[in-house]
């Protein structure tokens, strides 16, 4: 249990992780992440990379939707922009992959800011629907532009580092996980400063935010741009991971997936984006496992897997919204509170 914390400086009080316990837990987690690739099989490495990519994208969406209150159903399409940027740069220019990833982020940020323009005039659901419109238009571009390979899409070579091809999950893990970790840290930092506070102010009460000297449009667009930057980098990582980008890689349902991830995880908390994305990525796998157990007894169980996945996906969204709108992060917080007071109060 924790009795109290005493700090002797403002810097100490402003730190992201302000207790010893938190810091040691974090160090432990970092250690686990570093050891993981050496003990896990290819399947778990594959899943870890996928979770990390989804966490990066969900964290981006959380900045926009969870923290700034602007609902977007365009996250998957934005990832597509990032993925195509990386693929095109790899195929046509041949720049090294860190440059490509940054370029993917930058391009997507620009596209995101443009898509955010309607937020000047509309908000709430209207904005969400405008982002659906933007995704449809982006999909059309992906499927019909010669540069993006039209319906065929693009296949690209693996990322190269010091002359090695990074084409196995084990190698990519060392790229994807650290980048995701850095992006999470960046998001956490963002909300220690005036930029992040301005986003929250806009979400909570946009009109009084203006009186505090926060220009709404500029910050809404900034939020769109940052969130899209995250999506773009995540899309770039995705492209290096799968090495093929097609118009069908980023359907609207994926945007809904990311929104669902932050709802399930907890909107407006960094932890929420992480937990939600990891949870939602793993649920279908667990389902598959469960269905696998049943398949010896019900030969048709496999065929039912897809519908069951679809139902569970919907049920998770509905269930969390009705019963635990603060998401997994809140459940986690409750657990923590319990242990802070334990054993004096249960």
């Amino acid at each position: 249990m924790r009795i109290a914390t005493l700090k002797t400086s403002y810097a100490g009080d402003e730190a992201l992780f302000d207790t010893k316990l938190q810091r040691s837990l974090l160090a432990l987690f970092g250690l686990v992440l570093a050891v993981f690739p050496f003990v896990a099989g290819p399947y778990w490495l594959f899943m870890a990379c996928l979770v990390a990519i989804n966490v990066a994208s969900a964290t981006g969406l959380n900045i926009l939707t969870g923290y700034t209150g602007l609902v977007s159903l365009g996250q998957a399409a934005f990832m597509g922009v990032g993925a195509y940027t990386v693929a095109i740069l790899e195929l046509r220019v041949g720049t090294p992959f860190p440059v490509n990833l940054l370029a993917a982020g930058a391009t997507t940020a620009l596209v995101g800011a443009v898509v955010g323009l309607p937020s000047l005039r509309v908000k709430g659901l209207y904005l969400a629907i405008a982002t659906i419109g933007a995704s449809v238009i982006l999909h059309f571009v992906f499927a019909n532009w010669s540069l993006t390979g039209e319906a065929r899409g693009l296949s690209m070579p693996p990322a190269r580092l010091f002359g090695n091809d990074l084409d196995q999950p084990f190698e990519l893990y060392w790229v994807i996980v650290p980048i995701t970790a850095a992006m999470i840290l960046g998001a956490a930092n963002l909300f220690r400063t005036r930029i992040g506070r301005a986003f929250i102010a806009i979400r909570d009460r946009d009109i009084s935010a203006e009186v505090l000297g926060i220009p709404l449009l500029r910050y809404k667009l900034t939020s769109f741009a940052i969130s899209s930057f995250y999506a773009g980098v995540a899309g770039g990582l995705w492209a290096y991971f799968f090495r093929v980008v097609t118009p069908e890689s980023f359907p609207l349902i994926n945007s809904i997936f990311y929104l669902a991830a932050i709802i399930v995880g907890g909107m407006g908390t960094i932890l929420g984006g992480i937990l939600g994305a990891a949870f939602m990525t793993m649920v279908p796998e667990v389902l598959k496992l469960v269905v696998g157990w049943f398949s010896p007894y019900f030969p048709d169980a496999l065929a039912a897997l897809a519908p069951i996945r679809t139902i569970v996906f919907g049920a998770l969204i509905v269930g969390f919204l009705i019963f635990e709108p603060q998401g997994l992060a809140e459940i986690w917080a409750r657990v923590r509170r319990f242990f802070h007071l334990w054993p004096f109060k249960t």
């Binding site: 084409d167 799968f242 093929v244 359907p251 349902i253 496999l302 897997l305 897809a306 996945r309």
Partner: protein, 390 residues
């Protein structure tokens, strides 16, 4: 583009992760030969995937029950992909990292193209799949792949050869879906039509999940073709197209390519099915008059109707196993180059009557097929031409 709302197979990401769906035999002997597969058990192409999956399994069972190939069993390891390229790639990565794979079945054109560099890099695998894309029919660019039938352009060729014989100089129209699958044979098909002296009067593209095709039918009527070839669909919106066109007194003959030729699917077209024609490289499950011992065997194993996808999976496995057999018999190592070379030695090979004629595989495809026509009374597709070899 409306793919973007596909809820099924949900989760590109999660589908991307489709794993551990189907594991073959649990215990593995050291010298098992592994056939890996990315199959769409779920998703928009599940209809085909389920059939393919069963077909491959059945053929391998026949082979393994008979003692395998030179004493070695063939192990089947498949993963569900929900017909998503990324999921197929993931499945490939997973299976190849856990097994020593010599044969692989891929589920889509996108996957076949995507995985090709990896196949070349490994050089250990012979691959075939559900795609009959024209582009894949190039042994130079796709040295380790083949398709167990004619490619889409060849299918168009078979159809148009038939048309040119029936009605020289006929006006034809292409109706295709706005997908990679749909777009594949349109350009080369148009060129081929010109060579055969046929007149392509209209090319109509429909969104993949289009519900209402009224305007497209109007376009078709204005073009007034003698023959209309559908490509890139399994069922919808073909029936509605035909029904409306017939109501408008359009006297066009409607035709389809392999994936819209399954008998159960055509039956679902209802009245529109009557007279529907198309190209098919295999015999149908129910063809009893033919000299086809393998069909008898299939009917024994599965008393109920099996789709053309089943036949495709079955015969693909057969050709793969044949390539393995010839490689092993020649005492060569099982790798991509040798497997493909063995495959290409197949000449006048009898598939037990699944292909209607003995086949040869000089390149990446098996360019034979026959025109079938739906007989509403018999509720069956019945042959309308001889086997056509290109």
């Amino acid at each position: 583009m409306s793919e973007c709302w596909t809820r099924r197979g949900l989760i590109g990401l999660a589908a991307a992760t489709s794993f551990a769906l189907v594991q073959g035999a649990q215990a593995q002997a050291q010298d098992d030969i592994v056939l890996g597969a990315s199959v769409p058990i779920t998703g928009v192409f599940a209809f085909a995937g389920v059939g393919i999956h069963a077909g491959i399994q059945d053929y391998l069972k026949i082979v393994n029950d008979a003692g395998g190939v030179k004493g070695r069993k063939i192990k089947y390891v498949a993963e569900d992909t929900a017909y998503k390229v990324d999921a197929s790639v993931a499945a490939f990565n997973k299976i190849t990292s856990q097994e020593k794979v010599s044969l692989y079945y891929g589920d889509s054109t996108g996957f076949s193209k995507t995985i090709n560099p990896e196949l070349e890099r490994r050089g250990t695998i012979l691959m075939a799949g559900a795609s009959f894309a024209s582009e894949l029919n190039d042994p130079k660019k796709y040295p380790f792949q083949f398709m167990s039938g004619p490619d889409y352009t060849e299918m168009f060729g078979i159809l148009m050869r038939y048309i040119a014989k029936e009605k020289p100089g006929a006006r034809i129209a292409f109706v295709y879906s706005d997908t990679e699958f749909g777009r594949d044979p349109i350009e080369p098909g148009t060129k081929l039509a010109k060579e055969l002296g046929l007149n392509v009067v209209e090319r109509i593209v429909t969104p993949p999940t289009s519900v209402d095709v009224s305007t497209e039918v109007l376009k078709l009527r204005r073009a007034n073709p003698d023959y209309t070839i559908f490509h890139g669909y399994v069922l919808a919106p073909i029936p509605e197209f035909i029904t409306q066109a017939k109501q408008m007194n359009l006297r066009s003959q409607f035709m389809g390519t392999f994936w819209s030729m399954d008998n159960s699917m055509v039956q679902r077209m209802g009245e529109a099915a009557d007279g529907f024609m198309g190209v098919m490289p295999y015999r149908y499950y129910y063809e009893k008059d033919a000299n086809a011992p393998m069909l008898d065997k299939i009917r024994q194993m599965r008393p109920e109707y099996q789709s053309n996808a089943y036949m495709q999976g079955f015969v693909t496995a057969m050709l793969m196993v044949e390539a393995v057999k010839r490689t092993l018999e020649a005492g060569k190592e099982l790798n991509g180059t040798n497997l493909k070379a063995s495959l290409n030695t197949i000449k006048d090979y009898d598939t037990g009557g699944i292909f209607g004629v003995p086949i040869s595989i000089p390149g990446n495809s098996v360019p034979v097929g026959r025109i079938y026509r739906f007989d509403a009374k018999a509720k069956q597709m019945v042959p309308a031409s001889d086997w056509i070899r290109l």
